[in-house]
Each structure stands twice: as C-alpha cells, then as structure tokens.
C-alpha cells in the first residue's frame, strides 16, 4: 500500500487520521471529521465539572485504540486533566460491571458501544484486490478512494459511539460517581487484568438475564402501577418497530452505496473525471451522512430502548421476588415457623422493589424527553443535509450540461455555474 501525502479537504491541515491498514486516508483530518458529525445524542458534554472526549484514535489491524481524554474540576480525581489509552474491551468491561452492580438496578445503564466492525470495507478491499487485474488504473484508484472513505465512515462511527457512551455516564448524576468509572478514566495502566477477573466473576450472568428477561415480563406478573404497565406495552412495541426500521434503513443506505460505486465505474470507463466523480463523491457522502444521521439514530435508540427494557425486567423480577416473599411469609405464618426471617426478607424485597420503581420512573421519564430531543435534532440535520447535497449535485449537473452544450463558450458557462455554486 502506498502512503500518499495529502491534505484535509476542509482545513488543509496535514494532520490526517492515522493509518488504516497502511494507507493514509485522503479526506479529512480528525478534527474536521469530528466537526462534520454531530453527536447522535444531545450535547452531553456540557457539565464543566467532568468533561470527557475521545480526541484521537488509532487503528492497528482490526483493533482500535482510543485515547480517552478527561478534564475535571472534581477532587475525586488525582489530576485536573489526563488521557489514557483504552480498547473496546475496556468499555465492555465498564458497561458490564455497571450492569451487575445491584445499586444501579433502578437505572437505565447506557448501552454498550458495539464492536468496531470493519468487515464490510475489508471484504470490499479484498474483492478490489482480486479484481485489480480486470480494471483500468483509474477505476482501481477511484474504487480504492471510495473504499478508504468507507473505512473512514466506520471509523468515525465507532469513535462516536464510544465517546457517547462515556459522555452518557459522565452526565448521569449517580453513575458518574461510580468507582469503576473513575478507574476507567484515570488508571494509566492496562486494564486487562481487571477485565479478566471481572469475566470470571460475572461470566454468563448478564446473558442469562437477557434470555429469561422476556419471559419474566411477558409471563404476566401482575403490574400494580399503571405507569409501568403503559411503559411496558409501549417499550415492547416500540422496540420491535425500531428494530425493524433500523434494518430497513441499513438496507436502503447499502443500495445508495451500490449506486455510488456504479457511478465511479462509469466515470472511470468514460474517463470523464470531473462531474461524475464529484457526483459519486456526493452520492457516497450522502450515503454515509444518511447512515450517520438516520440509521445511527435508529440504531442507537434501539439499544437505548433495550437498556430501558432491561430496567423493566429488573423491576419485574424484583416484583416477582416480592410476591414470592409474601407467599413465603404467609406460609411461615401458617406453619408458625421462621416468621421473623420471612418478615425481614419480605421487607427487603419490598424496599428493593420500591426503590427500583421510584428511580425507574424518573429514569424512564427523562429517557422519553431525551429521545424526543435527539430525534428532533437528527431529523432536522438530516433534512438539511439532503437539501444541501441535492443543491450541490444540481449545480454539478447543470455545470456539466452547460459544459457539453457550450463547449466553445466555456467562460460563460463557467461563470453561470460559479454563481450557482455560491448560492449553496
């Protein structure tokens, strides 16, 4: 792979994103990349007492190394500003430990960031390598550029979701005080030892919970609270719908990508390097922007809703426990045996259940608000992007038409199009 020196198209900085499988990405520097994507969730990073971001990331083979940067005014931390390197597995460890913590049973734990998935682009790169002999040099170069753009998109996405995860934690009044969270942010050694221990302890528990969760809810434990009854119905229904929408949105964006690829090949064959390439760049950009806006939005909230459902499962379980403890108490009274233990157990269950219900209600209400705000933001941005890109494409098409028609009056045609472009 050849390393080509390049500039960021936006700010002309030379500080480009680190290598991807040996090639340097041509499009943007990291700062501009991040300014191009807004976060899917609302701006979480605005509490100055604890500011977290991921300013840098490195891709080695398939492993992504994130640099987690923290700026804080809290005294619980040793330094006011620091950075640590973290891997994806470290994030998962953090998430799992939070889920397993009993005290947080009444909270919606932010969904874990998904594993970085370079499978798609990697497969394409493989195919490209195989088909290299059959393509012209131009075609190959263009497809390679497009591929690099795809890697970039995956990369952007993965950094973003990891960052959002941390920011959700930092903005949660209870979770941001978690000891493990602090360790994650601060501990400057490798976390892998801790990770291994955690795995042994919690192993399959989480998975078991998810498996039986549905049964607990659906088995119709009698709900005592209208609010939760409604929430249950709503969340179950909404989850299945949003899951469906996410899958369909992904398919749609994949089609867009295929079309963009076709335009590259067309332009390569025709040797018209100008317009069609720009067209496809915009088309490709549309596909990736749509992907980031809509699909990511849907995907994110699908996972968030799962986390909300998990809260409901935990509460339903606590309710079941409480009801069982009631039955046990009745039995004990009948037999006149072990009554104090039974009473105490019942009290504990009740307390736990009440606690869960109270915090659960709060969480679910704020979750609603969060969701609505995020949808609003992203739908607006998506519409604005569609409009912007359509205008850009129109002006390119118009330019090309003028160009073909008035080939000896290029000056004039160019003048028109310049004006048009400035209107975007």
């Amino acid at each position: 792979m050849v390393v080509i020196p390049a500039f960021c198209l936006n700010c002309c900085s030379r500080q480009l994103i680190q290598q991807f499988l040996g090639t340097v990405l041509l499009l943007y520097c990291f700062r501009c990349v991040r300014s191009i994507i807004r976060s899917v969730s609302v701006d979480l990073n605005n509490d100055a007492s604890l500011l977290i971001d991921i300013p840098d990331a490195l891709c080695e083979r398939d492993k992504v190394k994130f640099t987690v940067h923290t700026k804080t005014t809290l005294s619980s931390f040793q330094k006011p500003e620091f950075s640590v390197p973290r891997q994806h597995e470290d994030f998962i460890w953090l998430h799992d430990t939070l889920v397993e913590t009993e005290d947080y049973a009444g909270l919606i734990i932010p969904p874990a960031p998904p594993k970085p998935d370079f499978e798609g682009p990697r497969e394409k790169m493989h195919k490209l390598g195989e088909g290299e002999a059959t393509m012209t040099k131009e075609e190959y170069t263009k497809m390679k550029q497009e591929l690099e753009a795809e890697y970039l998109a995956v990369f952007k996405k993965t950094v973003q979701v990891h960052e959002i995860f941390l920011q959700r934690l930092s903005s949660h009044p209870i979770l941001n005080k978690d000891r493990n969270f602090q360790i994650f942010l601060e501990y400057d050694q490798d976390l892998s030892v801790r990770r291994k221990n955690a795995k042994e302890m919690f192993g399959g528990f989480f998975k078991n919970m998810v498996k039986s969760a549905d049964e607990v809810l659906i088995s119709g434990v009698k709900e005592v609270d209208d609010f939760f009854e409604q929430e249950k119905t709503f969340l179950l229904d909404y989850y299945s719908k949003i899951k469906d929408s996410t899958a369909k949105a992904e398919k749609m964006t994949r089609s867009h990508k295929n079309i963009a690829d076709d335009y590259i090949r067309i332009s390569a064959t025709l040797n018209i390097t100008m317009s069609f390439v720009s067209l496809q760049k915009v088309e490709g950009r549309v596909a990736s922007d749509q992907e980031l806006k809509l699909t990511e939005l849907l995907r994110y909230y699908m996972r968030d809703i799962q986390a909300a459902k998990d809260l409901l499962y935990r509460r339903a379980r606590a309710l079941a426990d409480y009801e069982n403890s009631n039955k046990a108490l009745d039995k004990a009274r009948l037999k006149s045996k072990d009554i104090p233990q039974a009473e105490e157990h019942q009290q504990q269950c009740l307390q736990k259940f009440d606690k869960l219900s109270e915090s659960g209600k709060k969480e679910l209400t704020s979750f609603k608000g969060r969701r609505v705000v995020a949808f609003r933001k992203n739908l607006i941005e998506m519409a604005e992007l569609e409009i912007k890109h359509a205008k850009v494409r129109s002006s390119i098409q118009l330019y090309y038409i003028c160009f073909i028609m008035c080939t000896n009056e290029l000056q004039y045609a160019w003048g028109i199009c310049k004006i048009l472009c400035e209107q975007i």
């Binding site: 936006n10 709503f234 229904d237 909404y238 719908k241 949003i242 469906d244 929408s245 369909k248 949105a249 398919k251 749609m252 994949r254 089609s255 867009h256 295929n258 079309i259 076709d262 335009y263 067309i266 064959t269 025709l270 040797n271 018209i272 390097t273 100008m274 317009s275 390439v277 720009s278 609603k368 609505v372 949808f375 609003r376 739908l379 607006i380 519409a383 604005e384 569609e386 409009i387 359509a390 205008k391 850009v392 494409r393 129109s394 390119i396 098409q397 118009l398 090309y400 038409i401 073909i404 028609m405 080939t407 000896n408 009056e409 290029l410 000056q411 160019w414 310049k418 472009c421 400035e422």
Partner: protein, 528 residues
C-alpha cells in the same frame, strides 16, 4: 482562458490538410461508374488527425468528437484544462476535479432536428476531377454537413391485435415530410415487429454489398413477447412493449436520416404502403441471428490466407478503433445495467423503509414526534417514486443508447468485412485471369487455333471482370469511408444529446427532492 472563447480552436499541429480540389464523393450508390473514382484506390495519405469536422463544418466545434481529437490536439485539452480554473476557485467541490476530456462519445444537437433544409446536393462535381490528391476527409465531411432531411418518423400507439399465441402488437408508424417523393406530407401506417425485421433484411441484402452501414433493428425476444401474447398487463410487459416501441422508433429514425437508405424504394414502401406483405424468414436477421451473421463474416475474413496489403492504414486503424470502442461500450453497458438494477433495489428498499417508518410513527407516543415520523415516511414514499423515475431514465436514456451503439458497431464491422470480401473477389478474379493467360500461352505453343479463340474470349471476359471488381472495390472503399465518418458524427451528436437529456432528468429529480425535504423541515423543527 482567452483561448476558450475562440469559436474555432487553433489548427491542430498534427493534422495535414491538403488544400486540394474538392474531389467530391457523390452518392456511394451512384451507378454512373465514372472513372474519376478509379484513381482513388491509390493510398490516401490522410493523417489520422484529420477527422475533425469542427473546422469546416457549420456546427460549433465539438469538444467531444473523437478520441483522436485529443491525441492530435493537445491544445484542445489544455484549453479545457485552463477552464479547470476550478483550482483557483474556493469551492472545494471542484478542487479535485480535473477535466480530462478524452470522452469520445458526445456531440452536439440531436439528430432528430434537421439542421438546415435542402435536398442532398447531387451536382457538386464542381472541382476538376483532375486534382487527384487524396480526398480530404474533412471536405467529405463538409458535404455531409450540408445534408439534411426533412423526414420525421415516429412509432406510437402499440396495440395488441388478436389473442393467444397468434397475437401480435401493431405499431403506428407516422411520417411527416416535405420531400416530394412521398405520396403526401403526413401519413401513417400500421406495422408489426416482423415488418421492421423484413425491412432490415431487404436493406441489408442490397445495401451492405455497397459498404453501407445499415442500422440493425432491435432484438427479438421470445420471453418478452410471450408474456405480452398471453395477455398479462403487468408492469414488466408494459415496460417491454415500451422499450420495443422506443427502439423501433430510433431504428426508423436512423434509417430515414441515412441519405442513401432514404432513397431506397423498400424504405418508401415500408413507410407508405397500406398493406405490406408479411416478411418471412426474419429469424436469421434478428438478435442472435444477426450477431451470428456478423461473426461468420468476420471468421471468413480471418481465414483468408492472402493478407490484404493495405497501403492506406486508415481502414486498419479505423477497424481497430471500432473494435476497441465496442469493447468499451460493452463494459460501460454492463455497469449501467448494474446501476439500473441497484436503483430498482433502492426503490424497493425505500418503499419498505417508508412503511416501517410509518409503523414507528404510529407507535410513538409523543404527538409531534409521531407526526414528524409519519411525515418522514411520506417523504420516503415520494423518494421511492423519484428513484423509480430515475431508474427509468437510467435505462431508457443511458442503457438503451449504449445497447444501440453496440449493435451499430457490429454493423460497422460488417461493412468493413464487405470491403474485404470485395477485395477478395477482385484478387480471385485477377488470379483466374492470370491462369487464363497462362492457358492461352500454352495453347499458342501447342498450336491449337480453335481452342485459342475460346481462350482469347475468356481472357477478354475476365479482364473485364477484373476491371469491374477493382472498380467495385474502390467504390466500396469510398463508401465505407464516407459511411464511417457519417456514423461517427451521428454517434457523437447522439451521445451528446442523450447525455444532456440524462443529466436534465437527474437535475429535475434533484429539484423535486429539494422540495420534498424543504417541506419536511418545518415538521421536524416542530417537534417538542
């Protein structure tokens, strides 16, 4: 940038323009057999770069004429490049764009509008035929440019006649003309697909012997037609019929815009005559049959042991060009096909997504958000329609254009082969003559006066044949040349107009897209 405002680009360095007398090429099929053409069998030292119609024709210089244009005219592309002033521009959209115009398939206005009126000049033997310097190809082209045809044909109203397996589709062929050779100014007839094939058969038998490029008709399709016959009204049958109708129209338009073919009585009969006798044996000449014929001819040519000694490389070079271009078009067609399919896929996926969004909107309990999601579903529905139309335009404008020209290039190859055959005939006649002469010499020596007489007669006969075949060969060479040039010009025009049409349809799509999203934006903003 000043260079770009020149109407005529500066003369190309590589081109030699022999300023010779205009040795006109009258109709290729003129049977006057004038001897002025004989000498043209000597090599025409015309440089490859001369195929610039731009400088002499009345049409504005075409940036996109031929590939050759670029190779011999670096000035032109640098002109274009200097117009890539984009690099100075702040708009980074064009920053990486560099204009490499080696596109060889765009030209100016559509061929459907005759540029100027007036019949084909037949009396332009103005220059002295004595100026035997090679006919400048440019000057040939100048002649072509003056041609125009006042015949406008269209194929419309497909109508299914009959039922079951004997059913067929009849099309209305309407002609509008100002030429006197037709019975009236406007008229129409009904024709079916096999009639078109029959016309092609008649034309190709006659005209291709002269080296004419006869436009090939659209291909037969058993599957497509069976569906239509069985009477299904589904969208794919409708699309099939529409596709065929459009192809037949383009076919006829090409036929009537060809000066020699228009004169052919069969063409006139096809356009005018009420009841056309059914064409039979059309199997051989459509689709696969046609291709097979072309390939067979090519094979025959390749098997020729005597290699044609071309002192003029024009034919060889041009043939190679034609083959390369055919390859390129095939490749392009495959990609455009894939584009069409992907867009159809996008249609489907968008429709499915829209429904899913609508369901999600129903589930949503926040009223404003619920409404916004439903609106989004509607927008996506409209997008699906847009994509549908775009797919149609991809197909009918772009893909069919490529398919047409792939077939046409096959026909062009065919006429080159005809020329080879003519040469072969001539060579064979020459060797037969040689044998006869040897036989005569033997008879002289053996002193057989009666057989001698017969031998002498045979020699005379064969001498005449040799002369005739040589003349034929030269004539066919001229025709092929003229035809190829005309074809290239038409192709350039065609491609240019079609690509503009395609871009215009895309532009329209974009405008509508913008409207849809601009209507959606306030809904999104209203979420609270």
């Amino acid at each position: 940038m000043a260079a770009s405002s020149d109407r005529n680009p500066p003369p190309f360095p590589a081109s030699e323009e022999p300023e010779t007398g205009l040795c006109d090429m009258a109709d290729g099929d003129s049977d006057e057999g004038e001897d002025i053409f004989v000498n043209n069998s000597t090599p025409v030292a015309v440089s490859r770069g001369v195929s610039q119609p731009d400088q002499v024709s009345e049409e504005p210089p075409d940036l996109f004429s031929e590939e050759e244009a670029i190779s011999t005219a670096p000035t032109l592309s640098t002109t274009a490049k200097s117009n890539g002033v984009h690099s100075d521009d702040e708009n980074d959209l064009f920053a990486e764009a560099h204009v490499e115009l080696s596109a060889d398939e765009c030209g100016s206005s559509a061929h459907k509008d005759p540029s100027s009126s007036g019949p084909r000049p037949t009396s332009s033997f103005t220059q002295s035929p004595a100026a035997r310097q090679p006919t400048s190809l440019e000057q040939l082209e100048e002649e072509e440019a003056k041609d125009s045809f006042d015949v406008d044909v269209s194929v419309t109203s497909p109508e299914k006649i009959g039922d079951g397996m004997n059913a067929y589709v009849a099309y209305k062929v309407s002609t509008r003309t100002s030429l006197n050779m037709f019975r009236s100014k406007t008229f129409f007839v009904r024709r079916r697909f096999s009639d078109f094939l029959g016309l092609y058969e008649k034309l190709s038998v006659k005209q291709s012997l002269h080296g004419c490029i006869v436009p090939p008709p659209p291909e037969k399709s058993v599957v497509g037609m069976t569906k239509v016959k069985v009477g299904m009204d589904d969208p794919s049958s409708v699309e099939f019929v529409e596709r065929r109708r459009a192809a037949l129209e383009r076919y006829l338009q090409r036929v009537v815009s060809h000066p020699s073919l228009l004169q052919d009585p069969d063409v006139r009969e096809f356009l005018e005559r009420e009841d056309l006798p059914r064409a039979v044996n059309t199997q051989a000449l459509s689709g696969a049959g046609f291709l097979k014929m072309i390939n067979k001819a090519s094979d025959a040519v390749n098997k020729m042991t005597i290699k044609m000694n071309e002192s003029d490389t024009w034919f060889e070079d041009k043939f190679q060009e034609v083959e390369n271009e055919e390859q390129q078009l095939r490749k392009l067609h495959a990609v455009v096909d894939s584009l069409v399919n992907h867009r159809k896929e996008l249609c489907m996926n968008t429709a499915v997504f829209a429904k899913s969004m609508a369901m999600l909107g129903n589930s949503e309990d926040n009223t404003a958000l619920s409404r916004a999601l439903s609106q989004l579903a509607e927008v996506e529905d409209k997008m699906e329609q847009l994509h549908q139309e775009q797919a149609a335009s991809d197909f009918f404008i772009f893909a069919e254009l490529l398919a047409d020209y792939i077939r046409m290039l096959g026909a062009v190859r065919g006429c080159f082969d005809q020329r080879m055959r003519a040469w072969q005939r001539w060579q064979e006649a020459q060797s037969t003559l040689q044998k006869k002469r040897e036989a005569e010499a033997k008879l002289l020596w053996a002193n057989k006066p009666d057989k001698l007489q017969q031998a002498k007669e045979e020699i005379t006969e064969w001498e005449a044949r040799v002369t005739q075949y040589e003349r034929d060969f030269d004539r066919i060479g001229m025709t092929v040349r003229k035809e190829v040039l005309r074809f290239e010009k038409e192709k350039a025009k065609d491609f240019k107009s079609q690509i503009i049409k395609y871009l215009e349809s895309m532009l329209q799509s974009e405008q509508r897209l913008i409207k849809f999203w601009e209507a959606f934006l306030p809904e999104a903003k209203a979420i609270a």
